[in-house]
């Protein structure tokens, strides 16, 4: 929805700092870790000592420890299983399936006492071998890893299967001049939010109501999940979000520690807080899906893409989270990034005794894009074609309706590519012959992602209540929420723009499910788009209310009015009246109305059909990156030197926050490419700390040259699209392509750490493996 834009935008498009940045940088913002309630107890969770075992448990000694107020095990609680497939017992009974399995929890007067009590709990295990390789889990003789699995897909260890197809695969294969087949392997990485997982639960026995201070990024879905787990009525649960120290998708699911904390509060009648240690955060919070992608793709002799055949095998871990649904997005990259005539896709999520994966910024897309863009380079090589030309030739175009039914009303794909190709051309030309210790290379990659939500849940909508007070201040009560990405500031800017008031007169209330209207949550790069449109709708209704009163006060005929500098003015500017005065008159003179409006925005996207076809998002975002690396052939070290990043953002709403999203996303993508991996050995996490889990630091940052491509989406607020996930999606692919370009090697696996580079350099590259049959039952 576009508001009429009669005047030049004054606030939108300006580099406005985050409205609460001052509080955050002063240590005054209140995060979950900073909450302390009267009488609050400290909770701690006992987790499995083996990734696969039967066990018995005895808490008698622990319960005697002075200062312990409550202990729960599976025997003490009556809870439903949780998770997207309801296959996850909150507290495990008699058997554990992964090293993060919760088997008991303690609430005590201090954290130290709670931890001491955990050590006094006696657990006897009968360890079992366990299954850590998804291929093994699929073997005919392998029994069910998760006893709650529904087993709907022919093998008890298959949690989920997605199949998709368009076009005539056989015909397109037949007419392909070149074909490339590869197997790609993508690692498990951690969100590594700087604030660890946390929750404070406060159950009041007197009212039967549960108050949760939770860092969830989907408060209304969370409320329902919590109600299901605890067998309560959802509306008896109030979710308040403190300031959230990082989300990136990690807080899309509800995890066992949350209902456990609630259960401890119910049992003790006191508030209980659980804070993860960093080690616990690495071991017991979700990861990006590790997966194998077999990709066969072809091109005709002109270099046009003919087909893609894809099989994805995802290590689900022991339980199923929303992460199992990442194929929604993965298949989109394969079906619709660049024009392609035929696509056949199959993804299988398999149970293992590894830690379970969740959702992570990009939602499967970085993995898919890595495979796709690596193979595009290989196709170009096979065709002796320039790697830039083959991409330009096949780029998506405005007006395209893809094989999957995505409708690109606007599309900046070709512009993004052009942009980064031109910007990097000089650097490319300056690269000398491949000789000597240090070698340079440049790699390209693009990406496609939903840019206006994704219609997966029953509603992809967002509600807004807007209120003007007698002092001319505005309160925006938005269903959407802020997880650090700056959406709150963007909403405040929109209200300031439309109402002609300074941004410090706009207050955004968005942290309390008892107050705010429905919203599906932060995901799918939807917040600016969906919550923005919702706010603009509410403002439109509010202005209708103000119009009659303002015209009456100015003594003019009813007409459209302008809002500027705290005044409401006639179109010709001849007359004006102060906004606050209009509100007062509206309130205090007949017919006594509130300056309040409510609006619910539901994007015009549609549900996909059974074959996953349909225009699932309100709009689509595109991006391209060109990245220059320098590789040390002695050490295998990859230094990323320059990155040219172009992204179709629709319209720049706030260049400062946008640049922050781009740079932050880019560096997450670069970490995924070169350094990060949560390493597991037989179901145990072996690098659960920042010393061994290699996060990038300030010294690793390359020059990042960013160019926003504006395509002015007719559906977007002021033409804007979602931006949050895109910047990390093509990065690993572009870096891998750059390293391969520099060294003339082939890489099919991440991260590209020095050892991997050296192995590839010395001839131990990936071999071409055919599709393994039967991976998807």
């Amino acid at each position: 929805m576009n508001m009429e834009q009669k005047h030049k935008l004054k606030v939108i498009g300006q580099p406005v700092p985050k409205i609460d940045a001052g509080l955050r940088v002063s240590g005054k913002a209140i995060y979950g870790h900073d909450i302390s309630l009267p009488g609050m107890l400290h909770g701690a969770i006992l987790r499995a000592a083996y990734p696969s075992a039967r066990f018995s448990i005895d808490v008698t000694e622990a319960a005697k420890l002075p200062g312990v107020v409550g202990i729960i095990t599976a025997n003490d609680v009556d809870m439903n299983h949780i998770g997207y497939k309801r296959d996850h017992p909150v507290l495990k009974k008699e058997r554990v399936n992964s090293i993060r399995d919760e088997i008991a929890a303690v609430a005590a007067e201090t954290k130290d006492i709670a931890l001491q009590a955990l050590r006094l709990i006696k657990v006897e295990y009968e360890p079992e071998e366990g299954v850590y390789d998804p291929h093994e889990a699929l073997a005919a003789e392998c029994g069910a890893i998760n006893a709650q699995a529904q087993g709907k897909f022919g093998h008890p260890n298959i949690a989920e299967v997605f199949r998709y197809a368009h076009g005539d695969l056989a015909a397109e294969k037949a007419r392909s001049a070149v074909v490339v087949e590869r197997r790609y392997v993508l690692p498990r990485v951690s969100h590594a939010c700087m604030a660890t997982s946390n929750i404070t639960a406060h159950y009041e026995k007197q009212t039967g109501k549960l108050l949760l201070y939770s860092s969830t990024q989907v408060p209304f879905l969370y409320q329902r999940d919590m109600a299901h787990a605890l067998k309560m009525s959802a509306s008896d649960i109030r979710v308040i979000q403190p300031v959230i120290g990082g989300g990136f998708g990690s807080k899309l699911d509800m995890y066992p520690f949350e209902p456990i904390c609630a259960a401890l509060s119910m049992k003790t009648g006191r508030p209980v807080q659980i804070l993860f240690s960093r080690e616990e955060e690495f071991v017991a919070s979700p990861t990006r899906q590790p997966m194998e992608i077999w990709l066969s793709m072809g091109a005709d002799s002109d270099g046009r893409f003919t087909y893609r055949e894809v099989k994805v095998l995802k290590d689900n871990g022991a339980y199923t989270s929303w992460g199992a649904t990442t194929p929604f997005v993965i298949m989109q990259a394969f079906s619709s990034l660049y024009q392609v005539r035929a696509c056949a896709f199959e993804a299988t999520a398999v149970y293992t005794n590894n830690v379970y994966a969740g959702s992570f910024r990009g939602y499967g897309n970085p993995q898919a894009t890595f495979a796709l863009e690596r193979s595009i380079d290989l196709l170009a090589d096979a065709l002796h074609m320039d790697k830039a030309d083959i991409r330009k030739l096949n780029a998506n175009q405005p007006g395209d309706v893809t094989g999957q039914g995505l409708h690109y009303a606007t599309c900046g794909h070709a512009d993004c590519l052009d942009n980064v190709l031109k910007a990097s051309a000089e650097a490319k030309a300056a690269i000398g012959p491949a000789q000597g210790r240090y070698r340079r290379g440049i790699g390209y990659a693009s990406m496609l992602h939903v840019g206006g939500g994704a219609k997966i849940y029953r509603s992809d909508g967002c509600g807004t209540t807007i209120k003007l007070d007698p002092y001319g201040y505005c309160t925006v009560i938005s269903g959407s929420n802020e997880i650090g990405q700056g959406s709150e500031t963007v909403l405040a800017m929109m209200a300031a723009e439309e109402l002609g008031i300074p941004i410090n007169k706009v207050k955004v209330i968005n942290t309390d499910t008892d107050v705010k209207p429905w919203d599906v949550g932060v995901h799918a790069s939807r917040t600016s788009f969906v919550a923005g449109n919702s706010l603009l709708g509410a403002i439109g209704l509010l202005k209708e209310k103000l119009k009659a009163k303002a015209c009456e006060l100015m003594g003019v005929d009813i007409q459209d009015l302008n809002y500027d500098e705290g005044q409401i003015r006639t179109a010709n500017g001849a007359q004006g009246v102060a906004l606050d005065k209009v509100v007062r008159e509206l309130h205090f003179t007949p017919p006594h109305e509130l300056a309040v409006a409510n609006y619910f925005y539901e994007p015009g996207s549609s549900f996909q059909d059974k074959g996953f076809k349909g225009n699932v998002s309100g709009t689509y975002a595109f991006a391209a990156q060109a990245i220059e690396v320098e590789v040390d052939t002695y050490t295998g070290n990859v230094a990323v030197k320059n990155a040219w990043v172009a992204q179709d953002v629709g319209k720049v709403l706030n260049p400062l926050l946008l640049a922050g999203q781009i740079q932050g996303g880019f560096m997450q993508g670069m970490g995924y490419a070169v350094s990060e991996e949560l390493q597991m050995e037989k179901g145990r996490v072996i690098n659960a700390n920042f010393h061994n889990y290699k996060m990038l630091t300030a010294v690793d940052v390359p020059n990042i040259y960013f160019e926003a491509v504006e395509t002015h989406d007719p559906q977007g607020p002021y033409g804007a699209k979602g931006v949050g996930e895109a910047p990390l999606i093509p990065t690993a692919a572009a870096i891998a392509n750059a390293v391969c370009d520099a060294l003339g090697i082939e890489l099919c696996e991440l991260p590209i750490h020095p050892e991997r580079v050296l192995r590839a350099l010395h001839g131990k590259a990936n071999t071409i493996e055919p599709f393994k049959e039967g991976i998807a039952g």
């Binding site: 955050r24 240590g27 604030a195 240690s277 640049a659």
Partner: protein, 169 residues
């Protein structure tokens, strides 16, 4: 469980905290992070890892940045300790370090921000003391111990660079 636990040993420690003299009785192994957060209720110093790897808990001790999570409170004896709460006592409550961070969009989730601000404050004081000019590469090196998952560091380094240039020029 032993019936009567030995009375835990306690020691006394005095230091200046954000310009005020303080004294308190602590366990010998108490880390400064917990003393600040739990005893003095200064919650601005953040616990990101409590193992010295993330810098979220950065404070200044005698004007040099340290990780409060690995700093024994006992070692603060007689020293000057500054936390984020001690910055920005002017009208708008923001020190010039914080103003630069805000203006450069260097704050997203903000969990790293107090630690970043203190690390940069330490840089500024170091530059003033030594009359050395810290260039961009030196700033990046100085901030190597401060992790940020949100911003990609660019705006943070920009803010520090601007601040140090201003101070110098």
């Amino acid at each position: 469980m032993t019936e009567h636990k030995k009375e835990e040993e306690r020691i006394e420690v005095r230091f200046t905290l954000n310009g005020q003299d303080v004294d308190c009785t602590i366990a010998p192994m108490q880390m400064l992070l917990h003393l600040l957060r739990d005893h003095f209720l200064l919650k601005g110093t953040k616990p990101g890892c409590e193992e010295g790897e993330c810098g979220a808990c950065t404070i200044l001790v005698n004007d040099m940045p340290v990780n409060a999570c690995l700093y024994l409170a006992a070692n603060a004896e007689g020293k000057r300790v500054w936390t984020i709460e001690g910055l920005g006592n002017g009208q708008d409550g923001l020190d010039e370090v914080q103003k630069q961070l805000v203006a450069h969009g260097a704050v997203q989730c903000g969990f790293c921000s107090p630690g970043m601000a203190m690390a940069i404050k330490g840089m500024q004081l170091f530059q003033q003391r030594t009359q050395q000019v810290l260039d961009r590469a030196a700033i990046q090196k100085w901030l190597e111990g401060n992790l940020c998952r949100c911003t990609g560091y660019v705006h943070i380094v920009d803010a520090a660079e601007r601040l140090l240039q201003q101070n110098h020029g």
